[in-house]
Symmetry: none
Subunit: 308 residues, 5 copies
């Protein structure tokens, strides 16, 4: 039953994007006002790009109905997610049937894990596709730390400009990775905060990062964390720093869940994210690799945490 | 009530850019006529690109209100700076709210310090963005000395041409760096003068370099400095040579402040720059990493030096 | 030393244009912040298109220095006008010399009075010219009442869109005229209010109309004016109705002075416009056809009325 | 051996075009510096568009060598004209052979006299052609007074913009004609001054009009001519008024010779044009319809008048 | 008063470029007809790209007025050079002021000597810039022998094509250099002749090489020089071979002067170049590093040699 009134909180969030045209604001509002969390200023998004990124078997064998693109549309709708994000093929497969039932985000670049190269996704869709499919936003992944970062930044610069002109906001997945970074640096708190900042500076409307770990990776950063006693012990602490690093909380920052894990761990992590002021979660494998009923229950529990 | 009159000095400066269209001249005048130094022909610019270049924690932890993009807009306005320069995200965050209150410069390329690569920033904004955001100029960084210099020079060639056609002048940050240069060469007087010349030859309307040190780096240059007794002992001497190397003082050359340091050192340096005929300062970390009241005081003192 | 601060009133006015990008707001602010009335939210603009519209002799013989395009630039600057509006040739002739000294408006369409045809100006400049010349806005005339109105509305639709994308606001001169209207209807209060509404609906940021007369022209309108007792007796009454008809006062509406007349009449009219809540005057022949000293005095007196 | 020095007079003339790029100035200088009158600021141009406008027989039968396009190139060169103007075909026929020997002006629109229609020439060449042919300018005819004037003004708006971007100035032939004007109005002094003004406002760098007659055509103009005692008795008087109407003499205005007539009449007219401050003559039929030796003599005599 | 007549010799030279459009021929003629050597078919060009290539101090300290871009424009004009060649910044700085006084060549690629890389200049200007600045030609450097030669050949292929379409000829600086060549090979006669041939085959209208030395570098070439007794002893011999290698003398080949040296050496070298049939000299450091009076004298003496 929709008696969707745009709440004061949503109006406040939209006010942070005052340089954008009303089309961009409208599409942000479509996501913020939709689903169980509609109006709260919090978001839970279902992303399903693993078929492209990790291959179908690794992605969908644990819960075979997920081979079917309709499954994910229906899951996002039934779970009351704010939006469903996927590459061109998955959206194309269901966009007509599910038109108007859940806001969608077209992920415009994707990497497969067959080629071995410095991390740099291919652009696999366009703003025109996003319009054609009725999407509420475009999505894009950057890998700060990759020596191919200039290619990605060049691409997103042009895509954001084009999307904006057509009234579409941009969600940036910012995942530090590549020859500039050791493995342990990828989720370090300083690096994650930096990755969020880069996405914001590139013009992202919504930023997605991984939950940061209690590690400070860069030497120059270490000195600063110590000198100013920036707390990093709990995930809530670290999320708070990432949110601050995202224009002092004036950009929407959401956190991915990463690999599939047990329900308790997922909920514990979400509680910390919520406590630290995170705007929500983007939860893929932890949702669609569970049997449908479990997934719906988990997503309901996650939303309850953000709602309280 | 506003009574900005374009002074004879500003008219003289504009006369150096006689091949440019009136749009470019108008936007140069917007910066030269604005703020405390308006009309003097001197400029103090607030640049805040460190969130992108060094990461948010290193940049903003010393003075946490700086995590908020509005903070810098307001600082530039209240300090009476001629202009405020930042990457796309920071300008986007405040451009509507602060429209018309301070001329802005959109920095069109930026490097993060996560990737390890031969110095070469990514292009992260466009001339269209600068127009959409109401900017008075575009900004661009080149790294002479980098083996990737041709990429940067190619990019700025096209951006200057496009900006010029749309009435926007260009500010070039010229920072020698890369595999062609040892660390001690980066701020050598011969190298800095050369960097300024390159920026001018590329078509920059305003050039920003670092204050040069009393070192001559290139062997061929050493012979010439000795043979012609070119004085390099004081910073004022060296600034004078850089200004001369910028088309005999017919291009606006301003000097960056570099790392944060104590107030005495900053003011001493500015006095030398002013004595050597420098056109002003671009002062980032020394401004926004201080508490606001101190920053306003420092900027006022700096402007007083240029004004006298 | 310049100390232009954007006032609360200017911020309020800019807030009415929230769907526009910061470039448009910045250029509106350039005009609102400039000159004697800078910051008051009132505007006095010098328009000189009569050379094209009525011919040079009729326009400039009364005060021959006006044959020279520089004369008008200097008059607008010295009088402290918010802006100077003219066709391509006049702006081209002085834009480089006077760069940065007064905001300019490029009038993009103009009619000469040699051809006999249904009123429809020719488009004689482009948005590219406005950018090249450093203008703060484009100007355009529509003739509601002309059977050629669709041509004009089509042209301005495309020009507003292009100007907006490039950060330029639009001033529409809305002058009812043509085979649809008898002479006495052209300045009728119902027709003038209608003309203002049309300009606003076409997307104008600033609307210019003629001071309406105490005549209601359209039969259907007459009934409504009578039924609701809409006062039209004084010019202030009528200006109030035009301002109300311009989105309840949320678009800037200014009034032209029409043919040259004696100083007392001009000032009396301006007092009424100010009393009725008009945002200002656009005063051409009454300014430039007087000797310079008289024109400066008149414009100063007009600005004093708006300021008080 | 060539020793063309740009004179102070030419520098002064170029200074009137300060909003133009150096390419436009360079091509203006090419014409102003060329030929017998090179450096004087005066111009005599040979135009040969009558083959298109009046047909070949009427044009060339009086002096049959003129059927050959080379004839006119050679005439312009040998006579020391500042430039030679013609439609695409005539220039194409000789441009390679005579490259570098005389500046050329590509007339971009032309009317034939076979069709009966409201005066409106066809566009018969492009800016690309002008560059390909090495021209120093484009030429364009407008007919103020024609009900098709908007078509012509639209066309020239776009051509001037394109020419300017490519460094080419524009010469406008401004000939009042069409259903808005009776025959006796076409060369009236008020109408001619108006036609010159329109060309200047459209952005012309050089304006060509017909020598005005001692008639004031428009009623409103008559009052003004009388009230301000504007002298119109001699051609010199009238030329003076046209020059004044061309931005107070800050645009180059030249006068056509019209129909072929006897030598005495031509020279008498030129003396008046020179006395009134006209910048020169554009002389077609009076040149190429005479035998070559006579034509050379006449042009030499004309140039002598402008030179003295 | 100017009386430039295109001579038979210039017409003959232009006839070699029969596939080019009249715009290219016109601009070649502009250079061939200008200055002291105008009409002789010989050329002396002033090139000033050393500020970019070697740095400002090394270039201008020997004669400090040369820091000022206007100095070189004035030197080229006063010396009666056929043309002045420089990068974007230097031309931009004076193009409006000196419009029409000397043909200019925009050097479209330039190298700085800070980066260490296989020789490959950056493209630092465009054909649009050349048109905007009113240039008579574009200039471009290739380094045959560099492993990056394909990049340069690709770039010049596109630039020549674009320049040609817009009526501009191309001057190629052909300097063998790079990992394919030992130092002593760079000015060998076989290599210089080869470099000239490559420039001609790429479509150059004017070729600039260094004066070749009496060395044959390539083994295969040595056999041929010996077998056919090709004389290489005097510079005149070698110049003759280079001219022959430039399409049997049907392309304009001029010779650079290299490092500054004493007057006697310069004049002796020029005499040999003239004796060998060279078309002229391009003389930078030997001109602008001398005091102005000496430079003017030297250039006059050089021109006298070519003229006799």
């Amino acid at each position: 039953m929709s008696t969707t009134k745009t709440t004061e909180r949503v109006k406040q969030i939209l006010s942070w994007y005052g340089s954008d045209n009303p089309g961009v604001l409208t599409n942000l509002a479509r996501m913020l006002n939709h689903g169980t969390l509609g109006g709260t200023g919090k978001m839970v998004i279902l992303p399903v790009d693993q078929g492209f990124e990790h291959g179908p078997t690794r992605s969908f064998a644990p819960n075979p109905p997920g081979y079917d693109p309709d499954y994910h549309y229906q899951l996002a709708i039934d779970a009351g997610c704010n939006a469903y994000a996927a590459p061109l093929g998955f959206l194309d497969a269901g966009a007509a049937r599910f038109a108007g039932q859940v806001p969608t985000i077209l992920k415009l670049n994707n990497s497969d894990s067959l080629a071995k190269m410095e991390p740099c996704p291919a652009v696999t869709g366009s703003v025109k596709d996003a319009l054609r499919l009725g999407c509420a936003a475009i999505g894009f992944t950057i890998y700060p730390g990759s020596s191919a970062r200039n290619t990605m930044y060049d691409e997103i610069r042009e895509l954001i400009l084009e999307a904006r002109e057509h009234g579409l906001p941009t969600v940036i997945w910012s995942y530090p990775r590549g020859s500039g970074l050791a493995k342990e640096g990828e989720q370090a708190i300083d690096v994650t905060a930096y990755a969020a900042q880069i996405a914001c500076q590139l013009g992202a409307h919504v930023v997605k990062v991984k939950p940061p770990k209690d590690v400070v990776y860069q030497d120059e950063a270490k000195k600063v964390f110590e000198k100013f006693n920036i707390p990093t012990k709990t995930l809530a602490d670290r999320v708070r720093h990432v949110v601050q690093s995202s224009f002092n909380g004036r950009r929407i920052v959401i956190f991915s869940g990463g690999e599939a894990k047990d329900t308790q761990s997922v909920l514990a992590e979400v509680k910390e994210i919520a406590a630290g002021g995170g705007f929500g979660s983007i939860m893929g494998r932890n949702a669609f690799q569970r049997p449908r009923a479990e997934a719906l229950q988990l997503l309901a529990d996650v939303m309850k945490i953000y709602h309280s």
